[in-house]
């Protein structure tokens, strides 16, 4: 809880030079949470069946994968970086897991391990490009994104992977998605009601807590925030800046591949066309997270709330029969409002320096 009192102290402090109105402070800190609560109330009243355990679980499930990716992006945002390659790492993990199980006919454990290693490796390469080769973060990860989108199509000549598919060599792939792998995306745990909570939601919650603990409570997280705020000062205080930056991209890569594994387990095939929205949704969730509790900085709790916010809004609208093609517009609008919250309202902390 210390971190939150910290934040509040900073807010109270930095807002002092402005008009210091308590209302503005309150809006900045709790505005987004209040909006979230209001939205839940509104949909509960307006959309029948919205307020119920199944609906809640559905929302969680719909945001689990983007939420996990968003937590990875958060780690890179903390060191003042950015990872555009997360979406393509996730789809690469999707294709890789399918290839390992279907074409190479290996077991679920190997598939998961291969994906995690791939994610860590790609993150490491991203980090090296940025830290050692001095490529700007956006460009390095953009390049990596294109590279991976292309790479994942080469082994199958651009086709999706499913049991019984014909390989480029002419033979037929006979491997299957083993049930224990599918369970990662489809199994539901009993929680008061039978078969209520999907495993992917458990993964989201556990990962969110781990990332939060890492960033807020450990010295590594503190040093990463220091790097994000003033890299040179952090370095002169004895921080190994390069190592922490690489670690941030590796966290991002690994979490993106976890998202890809869950997607693969849910789909049960290596679908070349899925995962298009992952990058933008995850980035939106992480950026919306800036506005939560007036943090005005990347943070794990905010990211999780951001992902949930988008999920609730879309589910509510769907239940009120809003057409599917309005979804992206709504997400964009939410993001813009959140950014206004972050930079215009609480942006007076920046105003002091200009």
């Amino acid at each position: 809880m210390k971190s939150e009192t910290n934040k509040s102290a900073q807010d109270a402090g930095t807002n002092k030079p402005g008009n210091g109105s308590k209302l503005t402070d309150f809006v900045i800190r709790y505005g987004f949470l209040a909006l979230l609560l209001g939205m839940v109330l509104f949909f509960s009243l307006a959309a029948e069946g919205f307020a119920g355990p199944y609906s809640a679980v559905f929302i969680f499930q719909s945001v689990a994968i983007t939420g996990i990716l968003a937590l990875g992006v958060t780690a890179t945002l903390v060191v003042d970086g950015f990872d555009l390659s997360i979406g393509s790492i996730a789809t690469s993990a999707l294709m890789l897991s399918a290839y390992v199980m279907v074409v190479w006919e290996m077991n679920a454990f190997v598939a998961v391990a291969a994906c995690l290693v791939m994610g860590a490796f790609v993150g490491f390469i991203n980090g090296i490009l940025i830290v050692k080769m001095r490529v700007p973060d956006l460009l390095a990860t953009l390049g990596m994104m294109f590279l991976l989108i292309g790479l994942q199509r080469i082994p199958t000549e651009g086709r999706s992977i499913a049991t019984g598919m014909k390989l480029p060599g002419g033979e037929v792939a006979n491997g299957k998605f083993p049930p224990e792998f599918l369970a990662l995306g489809r199994h539901r745990l009993d929680f008061f009601i039978d078969n209520l909570i999907p495993l992917s939601v458990v993964f989201l919650v556990v990962i969110a807590i781990l990332v939060w603990v890492f960033l807020e409570l450990t010295r590594h997280g503190r040093l990463m925030y220091a790097i994000g705020s003033n890299e040179r000062a952090a370095s002169l205080a004895g921080t190994n800046v390069n190592r922490y930056k690489i670690i941030a991209y590796m966290i991002s890569g690994v979490l993106a591949s976890v998202g890809g594994i869950l997607l693969s387990a849910r789909l049960g095939r290596g679908d070349i066309a899925s995962g298009n929205n992952l990058l933008l949704d995850a980035v939106a969730a992480a950026l919306i997270g800036f506005a939560v509790l007036g943090a005005a900085k990347p943070n794990a709790f905010g990211t999780a709330i951001g992902a949930l916010f988008v999920g609730i809004l879309l589910q509510g609208m769907t239940m009120m029969n809003a057409p599917y093609y309005t979804q992206d517009f709504v997400k964009g609008a939410v993001l813009v409002v959140a950014l206004v919250f972050t930079f215009a309202l609480s942006g007076r902390r920046g105003g002091g320096h200009t």
Binding site: K2, T5, N6, A9, Q10, G13, T14, K16, P17, G18, N19, G20, L217, T218, R219, H220, R222, L223, Y225, A226, G228, S229, N230, R232, A233, A234, S235, L236, A237, G238, T239, N240, K297, R349, G352, H353
Partner: protein
């Protein structure tokens, strides 16, 4: 009789309950340099920001040559002829453009300037501006390739190019060497003759003695003294600024303890004269010299940021070869860097986070931070250095410059060190904070080597037991502060002593 260029009457400004300006009456004359003195937090910066259109005043009026002047934006103030060179240099220049474009930037941004850029014309005009200021820059050079001091000169040149009626300079020399500062002063002399009113804000007595026509002292948002009778009474001005008389520093010189750090034939660059120097515990060694004399390079070598071209360092009888700041800190060698805004302050953190940053591993177990340990250290440091704040959780940005600097020095005093190097620890702080910081450094020297890099002679004399003069990346002079020949030190700093020796030989 100089005519009044700017007339400020009854100016007030408050931020929430904090009344920063409490009725300022001030006249600035054309063709005159008015020095504004004030401790950190006296309201100088706020006054400047009101005059240059950043903040609107709550009450009061400003007249510019008899006409009411109420700028609502900085660009409106500039159009009216009020040009400001701010303290932080990077506000004044665009690093990724060449010098010519920087000098001509305002011309380019003017509405109605031609759509296409005529490079040759811009460069020719920029060369003219540079020549007027006696700056011999290659105007096609990128600003990002310049040193901090050179950037400052470009920023000032850019302000001149706007042909200001009132020029405001906010601590323009804080990162300039004496020679570069003198170039600036010559320029200000010329501007004064051409009838520009100049408001000059500085803590440096040497600047003030050199250029002031009048001195205005400010304290707690009020003007506490105006000094214009020649010769100017500098002591009274300082007293008016502080609200009480400032005594001279009485140093009780410390006898050096045991030798701890030895530099053995260290060459900072290939071909420079080797440096051999022993540092003892308990004493404060000040290293002085111009910008570019090698002070910063020596600090870098001590802190593991760069390797000497040759030579060897010994710390406590063991060879000391730090490969990074991390390993230097592990060996007990700390560096409090200069230019705190870019090198030290973590804006996103509170006071506690800024103090504990280098030593987080000591305040955590299994990587988990102990907020109780951090708070203890922070409260101890706030108490020890007399940092003025509401609580240890205040954002660092809410503190005045002097208090921020105290936090940065306190950061490195919060743990025991074998060697503490402080690079320009008094940069941009008022005389009161400077004395506080200096006192605290001297009080804690027991058992440690203390090295202070400073280019201001006043500061050096206030802090040092022993003084080393550097130039051309080597040692030009060694002195004890107790019976010092200041003229000899100054000559060595300026490189004159070396010239004399050449003549003798």
């Amino acid at each position: 009789m100089p005519s009044s260029a700017v007339k400020i009457v009854g100016l007030t400004k408050a931020f929430a309950a904090n009344r920063v300006l409490r009725g300022i009456d001030l006249v600035l004359n054309s063709g005159e340099i008015t020095v504004l003195m004030g401790a950190n937090g006296a309201g100088k910066s706020t006054l400047v920001k009101v005059i240059c259109g950043v903040h609107a005043p709550d009450a009061g009026s400003i007249e510019l040559y008899g006409k009411p002047f109420n700028p609502t934006t900085p660009s409106a103030a500039i159009r009216a002829g009020v040009v400001t060179v701010h303290q932080s240099i990077n506000d004044g220049v665009v690093p990724d453009l060449d010098i010519a474009s920087n000098l001509m930037l305002d011309r380019l941004a003017e509405p109605g300037s031609s759509f296409f850029i005529n490079k040759r014309k811009i460069r020719a005009e920029a060369r003219k501006i540079a020549a007027d200021m006696a700056l011999n820059f290659d105007v096609t050079q990128l600003v990002s390739e310049l040193t901090l001091a050179e950037r400052q000169l470009v920023a000032i040149a850019r302000a001149m190019a706007r042909q200001p009626k009132l020029l405001i300079l906010d601590e323009p020399t804080s990162s300039l060497s004496a020679i570069e500062a003198e170039r600036l002063f010559e320029l200000l002399d010329r501007l004064r003759e051409s009838g520009v009113a100049i408001l000059y804000i500085s803590h440096r007595m040497s600047d003030i003695r050199r250029i002031a026509d009048r001195i205005v002292a400010m304290r707690d948002g009020e003007i506490t003294g105006v000094f214009e009778d020649k010769p100017l009474n500098y002591e009274s001005a300082v007293d008016a600024m502080l609200g009480h008389a400032m005594s001279d520093v009485d140093l009780d010189f410390k006898s050096p303890g045991t030798p701890m750090l030895k530099l053995d034939k260290i060459c900072l660059r290939r071909g420079s004269e080797p440096i051999s120097l022993d540092f003892y515990s308990d004493e404060v060694v000040a290293i002085t010299g111009l910008v570019g004399s090698g002070k910063s390079e020596l600090a870098d070598v001590l802190f593991g940021l760069s390797k000497p071209a040759s030579g060897k360092m010994t710390l406590l009888d063991k060879e000391y070869r730090p490969g990074s700041s991390e390993s230097a800190i592990k060996a007990g060698v700390f560096l409090c860097p200069k230019d705190r805004a870019s090198n030290a302050v973590i804006q996103g953190f509170d006071i506690t986070g800024n103090i504990t940053l280098p030593f987080l591993s000591r305040y955590s177990s299994l990587s988990f931070l102990s907020s109780a340990k951090e708070r203890d250290i922070a409260l101890g440091t706030i108490e020890k250095l007399g940092i003025v704040c509401q609580s240890e959780k205040d954002g660092i940005g809410t503190l005045s410059g002097g208090n921020q600097q105290k936090v940065m020095v306190g950061r490195w005093l919060s743990q025991e060190s074998e060697v503490l190097v402080l690079d320009e620890p008094f940069q941009g702080v008022d005389i009161k904070a400077r004395r506080d910081i200096g006192q605290k450094i001297r009080d804690t020297t027991k058992g440690r080597v203390t090295i202070v890099m400073a280019s201001e002679m006043d500061e050096v004399l206030e802090i040092a037991d022993r003084i080393i003069v550097m130039g051309e990346h080597t040692i030009k002079g060694r002195h004890q502060n107790s019976n010092i020949d200041i003229n000899l030190v100054l000559a060595q700093v300026a490189g004159l002593a070396a010239a004399d020796e050449l003549l003798v030989n």
